[in-house]
């Protein structure tokens, strides 16, 4: 603890009060260390600085083109030397955007590191001035396993998340403000900044854009889906858990396994299977026809064409069917969680209520349900967020099966059963409409943030974290 004898100073104080070594550190990171004969550390810092600066220099040409996202269109030109057509030295808007952003981040990182270096150098100066011992390189390395252990632990995760999630997301968010779509595909074409035009496309009613028509419909279904899918599975799971764990039930593990098998089969197997089960030319349709169900449904006007129940192909059937199939997939999972909670309900509570003359329904309403809600209630909100992003169920059930007859929806690349996320996927994979996909991605973010704002304070809020410690 001797080392921290120095008082805390801001960067400017450290820089102005520090000696030549400290001042030089602002230019050459290792300078302070070299002056104080920490040669190994000094050289390492210099190496780190060189690498970082090299990266900045490599990406700088992209940063310079970032304001325009490139001006040189790709074309084939005659090369008199090679005697054939070759591609010119064209700009790639996407790479300019990507590496421009990376360059900006690197510059920010460089400045931040420089501030830290100068402050550290000043502290070392002060420690040396009062005759303190400066740590050797070996001691510094040792700190990485104790005082600085978080650096060791977090290096891989932070690097991974930054490269695979944060930077790509940042780039995709920026694409919402460009015209990157089918007619501006890289590398043969350029795209450029368009400000808020894409957002206007979603909202304006004047220019009768297909997106303005599709957006409220898809958003409405997404919210309806999120709420009903979450609630149905949640309460279905609780009821099923109570049924299976009832004291009358014989062979509880057997029943539990029965339901869990359906959940444990990977979704792409079970959902693709169910979709064939319920196909227009599928076994359920055959059976319904044999049993006369199809004819009866046609007579009461529940199906539009005779002979076929359009389980997954007609809007008024597909939506409830998808919810039902999701119920089938999701209930066992909730049952499992509710079982864990149910087992932990203090028996005295229910016993006492029974002795006081409460019947089964009253015990459920007054004790069991409030107890489960108290413990798993917050998971309802995260469950809704998960369902807003529930790509698998909708995608696997509707891809290649559900075709919309609504021309305006089709023009926007959406269908009646699409969630915002599956719409986003369709836009990128089928239509290469990256700009609108990006706009919709931002909207999904807004919906999820609104839902999470409640739980957010719970996760990082004061008090709760230390409650068990």
């Amino acid at each position: 603890m001797k080392r921290t004898a120095a008082t805390k100073e801001s960067f400017f104080q450290a820089f102005t009060r520090g000696d030549a070594g400290v001042k030089l550190t602002a230019l050459f990171w290792g300078a302070g260390c070299l002056v104080r004969r920490q040669t190994g550390k000094g050289l390492l810092l210099l190496l780190e600085q060189t690498v970082l600066l090299l990266c900045v220099l490599l990406t700088l040409p992209f940063l310079r083109k970032l304001p325009t996202l490139g001006t040189v269109q790709a074309e084939r030109i005659w090369d008199p030397v090679a005697r054939r057509n070759v591609w010119n030295d064209y700009d790639n808007s996407f790479l300019i955007l990507l590496f421009g952003v990376i360059c900006l981040l690197l510059i920010g990182l460089y400045l931040l590191k420089t501030l830290q270096m100068v402050k550290a150098a000043r502290q070392a100066e002060q420690t040396a001035a009062v005759g303190g011992q400066l740590p050797t390189l070996r001691q510094d390395a040792g700190r990485l396993l104790h005082q600085d252990f978080h650096r060791t632990l977090l290096f891989l995760p932070v690097a991974g998340v930054t490269l695979v999630m944060a930077i790509p997301l940042l780039v995709m968010i920026l694409i919402a403000f460009t015209n990157y779509d089918r007619s501006h595909l890289v590398p043969t074409n350029l795209f450029t900044w368009v400000g808020l035009d894409n957002f206007r496309l979603l909202t304006s009613l004047a220019n009768s854009s297909a997106f303005a028509y599709a957006f409220p419909r898809v958003l409405g279904w997404t919210l309806l889906w999120a709420v009903s899918a979450t609630l149905s599975c949640y309460f279905g799971g609780i009821l099923m858990a109570m049924l299976v764990n009832h004291r009358r039930t014989v062979a509880k593990p057997f029943w539990r396994t029965c339901f869990m098998v359906a959940m444990a089969v990977p979704q792409f197997v079970s959902l693709l299977l169910v979709r064939n089960l319920f196909a227009d030319v599928g076994i359920i349709n055959t059976l319904c026809k044999q049993w006369g169900v199809t004819d009866w449904l046609y007579r009461i006007g529940a199906i539009p064409t005779a002979g076929v129940i359009p389980f997954l192909t007609h809007p008024s059937w597909a939506r409830p069917m998808i919810l039902l199939i999701n119920f089938w997939v999701g209930v066992p999972y909730q049952m499992l969680i509710a079982t864990g909670v149910l087992i932990n309900i203090p028996r005295e509570l229910t016993e006492a209520a029974r002795i006081d003359g409460a019947n089964a329904l009253q015990v459920f309403r007054r004790i069991t349900l409030p107890y489960i809600l108290h413990i798993t209630g917050p998971s309802l909100i995260s469950g809704m967020v998960a369902n807003v992003n529930n790509f698998n169920v909708i995608w696997l059930l509707s891809r290649d099966v559900y075709v919309t007859t609504d021309q305006q929806l089709a023009a926007a690349g959406a269908t009646e059963v699409d969630l915002l996320v599956t719409w986003l996927y369709r836009l990128t994979q089928d239509q290469s409409n990256y700009k609108m996909a990006s706009v919709i991605g931002l909207l999904v973010f807004l919906v999820c943030s609104a839902l999470t704002l409640v739980t957010f304070s719970r996760i990082t809020g004061r008090g709760r974290e230390e409650a068990f410690q």
Binding site: F94, L145, H146, Q147, F149, H150, L153, L154, L156, V158, G160, V161, V164, P168, M172, H246, R248, T249, W255, C258, F259, M260, V261, A262, M263, A264, V265, P266, Q267, V269, S270, L272, L273, N276, V281, G282, I283, T286, W328, P332, I337, G340, N344, N389, N392, W395, V421, L424, Y425, T428, A437, V444, F445, S449, T452, F456, I459, T460, F468, Q469
Partner: protein, 282 residues
Amino acid sequence: MKRRALLPGILHHGLLLILAALWLTPILWLVLTSFGVDEGPNLRTFFPQALTLRHYRELLSSSGSVSSFPAWFTNTLIVAVFTCLLSTVSVLSTAYAMSFLRFRGRKVLMKAAVLLNLFPGFLGMIAVYFILREAGLTNTLAGLVIVYSGGAAVDYLIAKGFFDTVSRSLREAAWLEGANEWIVFRRIILPLARPIVVYTVISSFLYPWMDFVYASIIMSSGIAMDKTVALGLFSLVDKVNRNRYFAQFCAGGVIVSMPISVLFIIMQKFYVEGITGGSVKG
């Protein structure tokens, strides 16, 4: 007393039986179709006319342009092993750092993780695809491993929640014995946190087997040998192949479902153990 309880008991188990039948019928159909004689979906009857092992034989020896199950299985297994290693290390390190260590920037990182989780995952994946393409990593298993394990750390909250319940006094006692933070993590906390370690290992191992979206973006070449199990089986039931390969799809479904569901059920057991008590409390 006994007579009165008989009727509710029968009704009770009758209801359970109906529900179990509802939940198991599609699975039964999967198994039946995989052993049935029809190549496509059997549209006439629920039960197949005759049974055969042909589809399993064809599937397991397939290496064609449509079906090449052995290659899919190997691909997915390789990706799953490496993803499992990298993701587990990422998740557990992050969870330990956030739960036990106090350092500058901790809250900022935690908030950043919450924020990142609010975006739909494959919005960023589109950019990742272009980055991997520049690096020549699309349609490679390495690319998939990067995609699956790179962002794994943002899902550290379950493990952190478990670590939060582990007593702090153990750690301080170990310090007095001269152990550093690394030894505490490795020798004391990880063994205590066995349920959550097992949960993390299994869930990250299973991810590549279950994922369909990311694989479809990164492995977009359409070459059968490049696919993962999920992508491959999906291609067997698309519009073109369904009538020829549906039974093989079912056979493949049965084959991958067995190990996966066993692992899945083990994982759920540890998960429930991890979140609902039974854990180490100080």
